[in-house]
Each structure stands twice: as C-alpha cells, then as structure tokens.
C-alpha cells in the first residue's frame, strides 16, 4: 500500500504547476514594464 510513485507524481505536478504560474506572471510583469517605458518614450518624442 505504499504507492510512492503516485505520491511523487502528485507533488511534482503541484510544485511545477505553481512555480510555472508564478514564473510566467513575473516574466509578464517585466515585459509589460518594458513596453510601458518604450511607449512613454515614444509619446515624449512626439510632443
């Protein structure tokens, strides 16, 4: 009744799922901030 393979699979899915989620959100945040800066620069140039 050990089923360690199933247990390992469950925890791996949880960890990978949550880490991927946070990582993609942080990456998106960086990309957004960069785009905002570029757009603000463009607006300043137009003025």
């Amino acid at each position: 009744m050990d089923n360690l393979g199933y247990l390992f699979a469950a925890y791996t899915i949880i960890w990978i799922g949550l880490a991927y989620l946070v990582w993609t959100a942080m990456r998106k945040q960086k990309a957004n901030r960069k785009e905002i800066e570029i757009l603000k620069e463009k607006l300043d140039e137009q003025k």
Binding site: A10, L18, L39
Partner: protein
C-alpha cells in the same frame, strides 16, 4: 517589495509543509503513504473556493462602482482559482487510482468540481472574445457572480448525493495533533502562494490597461 516578501514566505512555508508531510506526520493506517496527497489536495481546494469567493466579491464591487481595479482583482483571483481547481482534479485523480482502482468516476463531488472548472474556463473564454474594455469587465463580472453558484454546490455535493469521495472529517474530530498542524501549515502556504500570484497578476492587469491607454494616446497624437 511585497512580492519579494510573499515569495520568501511562500518558499519557506512550502519547505516546512513538505518536511511536515513527508517526515513528521505519521502514515495513515488504512491508505498508507498515498493519503499524504490529502495535505495538499485539501488546501488547494479551500484556496480555490476562496479565490472564486474573491472573484465573486470584486465582481459585485465592479458592477457597483465601475472601477476597473476591482475587475483586475476579480480576474487575477479567478485565474489562480482555475489553476487550483486543475490541481484539485489532478491530485484527486492520482489519489483515486490506487484507492478506487480508477482515475475518474462521475461521482457527485468529482462531477461538480469538473463543472466548476468549466464555468471559470468559460469566464476567461467570454472575456477573451470581447475587445471593448468596459463590456469585457461587465460581462466578466456577471459571469464571476453567477459562476460562484458552482462553489457551494461543490462544497455540499457530498451531503446532497451518494458519493464515494471521503467525507469531511476536519471539523468532526477526525484529525488530531500533527495531522491537523500539517494540514493548517499547508493551507497557509497555499494562501501565501495565492496572494503572491494575485499581487503579480493584478499588476499585470493594471500594466496591460496602461499599455492600452498609452497606445490609444499615441495613435491620437500621430493622427
């Protein structure tokens, strides 16, 4: 700063929870080691309910005030709620295979959880089809409110219909000592992960809104 604090706290709590789950807590007598899935399956479920509750509350707030910030919070919370629900379904299936002998059965709790997952997938599909911001927020809020009906149905499904899903034992003196402590630490760890993600996603929604406004401004000035 708040992201870094949440990241550090979440990391530490997750490690503590893992040590508790795999080393400290005793092995359950009838199911053996596979029962240890419970210490993450239940916290993920509770946090999914909480996430959709927040979506429900902030959807109402949006419809009342029309302040997009409330929709950003509702959307961010629903997003992690879907991830939590996906994890509920996956970890539940992994537990079911060795215990029930099947990965899935159309039992009341499982089916209602699956329907709840579909409802919130629909929430994002509908939003993705609407390009006009104000309409997207409005329709999103309406689904965020109506979709929340699925949450109490999942919660009470084991009382409403015959099910093979284990009955709630946390409030019925079914858990004691280290088992309860491990569960509470895992719940808190998931809670911190929830807040970390909502902070990040809220900022992303706000930034996406600002990008859209800046692009409109740029287009106007170039005309």
């Amino acid at each position: 700063m708040r992201t870094k604090i949440a990241l550090a706290l979440g990391g530490v709590l997750m490690v503590v929870a893992l040590v508790m789950v795999f080393i400290v807590v005793p092995t359950e007598a009838t199911m053996g080691n596979i029962q240890r899935i419970f210490y993450f399956h239940v916290p993920v479920a509770w946090n999914a309910f909480f996430s959709f509750g927040v979506t429900f509350g902030f959807s109402i707030a949006y419809l009342k005030t029309r302040n997009p910030k409330y929709d950003f919070i509702a959307e961010s919370s629903a997003r992690i709620g879907i991830v939590f629900t996906t994890l509920i379904l996956l970890t539940g299936m992994i537990w079911a295979k060795p215990i029930w002998g099947v990965w899935w059965t159309w039992d009341a709790r499982l089916t209602s959880s699956f329907v709840m997952w579909l409802v919130y997938i629909a929430y994002f599909i509908v939003r993705s089809f609407i390009t006009e911001e104000e309409r997207r927020y409005r329709f999103g809020s309406i689904i965020g409110i109506l979709g929340f009906l699925s949450v109490p149905i999942v919660a009470i499904s084991i009382q409403l219909a015959p099910t093979t899903h284990p009955k709630a034992m946390i409030f019925n003196d079914g858990l004691h000592g280290t088992m309860l402590a491990t569960l509470l630490i895992s719940i808190f760890a998931m809670f911190v992960v929830y807040f970390l993600f909502v902070f990040l996603q809220y900022d992303n929604c706000k930034d996406a809104y600002e990008i859209a406004q800046l692009k409109k401004k740029l287009l106007k000035e170039s005309e």
